[in-house]
Every structure is written in structure tokens, then in C-alpha cells.
Symmetry: C2
Subunit: 175 residues, 2 copies
């Protein structure tokens, strides 16, 4: 596949939109690419069978969602620093440890957002510092309860599903 032309059609606050005209074995067509600077997901576990989730309004889908703590990586920031900062801002937790798990593209068919998963199981509790648009509720759930929510379509967020299934697997492996 060869890129014949590339045009940034929109530059936004969280994402940009680029349209590439490409040609391959079967002809020429346009491809939309959503450009994103990457994000972190924090699997925060006060005990091996629990996870901390945050609830917020997600305008893009018109729903309030329970999700693992997550947020964008700032310019010049390492993923680990972003994980520590996002956890502090959203939950008030000052992490004592932050272990990298793995990474995942959220939608590689049309978007370059790369999610970096981290795990922490120890922190001090302080004040939250939510972003301007965020009003956040925080709660600790048993992992088994979150899995039931996922199975009932009550928690429809792919990164949180990865986080919970990863944590359940650790638990299974360790018990």
C-alpha cells in the first residue's frame, strides 16, 4: 500500500483527523485516521480480588460509565508519570508503586491511540484533582462483581474489560 496524499482535516483538543489517499493491489481509496497522543489505564487494587473504578459521564456515547482509572498522556510525559498523575487526579490516591503490564491500541482499524496498562496495589489517600469537564465518582468493587456487570452488558468499556480479566487471571494464578 502506498500513500498518495495526506491531509489533516481537523485539529481538536483530544484528537485530530487525518485523511490519507492510498493505493494498493485493488485500487485507490481514502482512509480516515484518528490521531491521538496515547493514554494510560491504571488497574488499582486494594486487595487481589478488588478493583477501584471511577464513574463519569461519557458524552460520546451518552452514558455514565464505570471504568478503570484512565486518561491521556501529556506532551513530554512518560506513560508511568501519566499513570501516577491520572490516578492522583481522578481518585486522590498517591501510588507507592506503579508496574507496567502491557499496551493495546483501542481501535487500530482507524485510530492510533495506544493504551498503556499499569497496576498498583499500594497508595496513600489524598484529595482528587478532576479535569474541568470531569465529575467523578469513585468506588471499590469485587472483581467477580465487575465480571458480572460485564456479562450483563452493564460495563461496556473495552479497556476496563482487559483490566478486570487481567486482574482475575492474576488472582486465579496466585490462589
Amino acid at each position: 500500500m502506498k500513500v498518495l496524499a495526506s491531509k489533516r482535516v481537523y485539529e481538536g483538543r483530544v484528537i485530530n483527523l487525518r485523511v490519507d489517499t492510498v493505493t494498493g493491489n485493488r485500487g485507490q481509496h481514502d482512509m480516515e485516521i484518528v490521531e491521538h497522543s496515547g493514554a494510560v489505564v491504571v488497574i488499582a487494587q486494594p486487595s487481589p480480588d478488588e478493583i477501584v473504578l471511577v464513574r463519569q459521564h461519557r458524552h460520546a456515547i451518552g452514558e455514565d460509565t464505570w471504568e478503570a482509572c484512565a486518561g491521556g498522556i501529556d506532551a513530554g510525559e512518560t506513560p508511568e508519570a501519566a499513570a501516577i498523575r491520572e490516578l492522583r487526579e481522578e481518585t486522590g490516591f498517591r501510588a507507592h508503586n506503579m508496574r507496567r503490564i502491557w499496551s493495546a491500541y483501542s481501535a487500530p482499524g482507524f485510530c492510533n491511540e495506544l493504551l498503556h496498562f499499569f497496576h498498583t496495589d499500594s497508595w496513600d489517600v489524598g484529595e482528587t484533582e478532576p479535569d474541568a469537564e470531569e465529575e467523578i465518582e469513585i468506588a471499590t468493587f469485587p472483581l467477580k462483581r465487575v465480571l458480572e456487570m460485564i456479562e450483563r452488558d452493564e460495563l461496556r468499556d473495552a479497556k476496563t474489560q482487559v483490566a478486570v480479566l487481567w486482574a482475575l487471571r492474576q488472582h486465579t494464578t496466585h490462589s
Copy 2:
């Protein structure tokens, strides 16, 4: 939060981009929303400890990726019909069964793409029918091998991570 204005700034082949001007407790700002008509993910398992993955070039991330079979839902198509069709087009498999697992938004912070996960463990093999832009390789992997690929950052696709962790959990539960 209240929407003051809404503008479709781009209409594409796979996605549209909408920008909403919203106001909340803390003032007014624009939000970018990537509109997508939804997709299906097919967890195809010839045996409980294996999964079929497809390899294709993903222009948005500039990489060739191994992923679970997946694709967009056509206008007027049910998710189940899309799952049967995508599996047939990408792998040539004519599914005998197709069981819905659950759903997940790929990136609910800025995109309304909803992924519908399905499972099949029985099919007849026929010819593939790839889309114009797709050149696809197909292979069956042991689940444990795919988990190692994920842990080594060799398989960085969130939907496939959900699929593999789900399948590993079924296997654990049943054995």
C-alpha cells in the same frame, strides 16, 4: 452538561467526525466525537485452548497485526449476521453456531464505536472473500502462546486481548 452546538465536520467511509460545543459546571468547551456504526469481534476456537487470528496491515498504526476476526456492521445488518459474514469473508469459515458474549465501547472518551463479541467453535471451511483493502493471513494459535505475545507487547490490540482473556477464562473454568 448541555450541548450548545453540534457540527458534523467530516463524513468519511468508516467514520464521521462531529464537534459538540458543551457547557457544564466548569464552563464551555468543544468535544470531538468520532461516529462509527459499530463492529463485531469473532472469537473462533477450533478447540477450547486455541483461537483463530488474522494478520493484516493496519495503516492507522503503521503495523501488521494479528487480531481476532472483526469488522464493521453494515447498514440494516444485525450484529449476529455481521459476525457470520465477517468470519466467512476473512477466514472462509461458514459458522455452524455464533453465540453472543458481550459488548464494549472501544474508546468511549471520544468515539461511539460499540464492539459486539461473539464466539463460535464449529464451522465448514470455504473460500475467503476479503474486502478491497484487506490482504489477510489466517492462523490458529494456542491461547497460551497468544497470551505470551500480549505480555511481550507483540499483540497490542485491545479487542483481541479481551477475546483471548475471555477464552482463557472459559478454559480455566471448564478444566
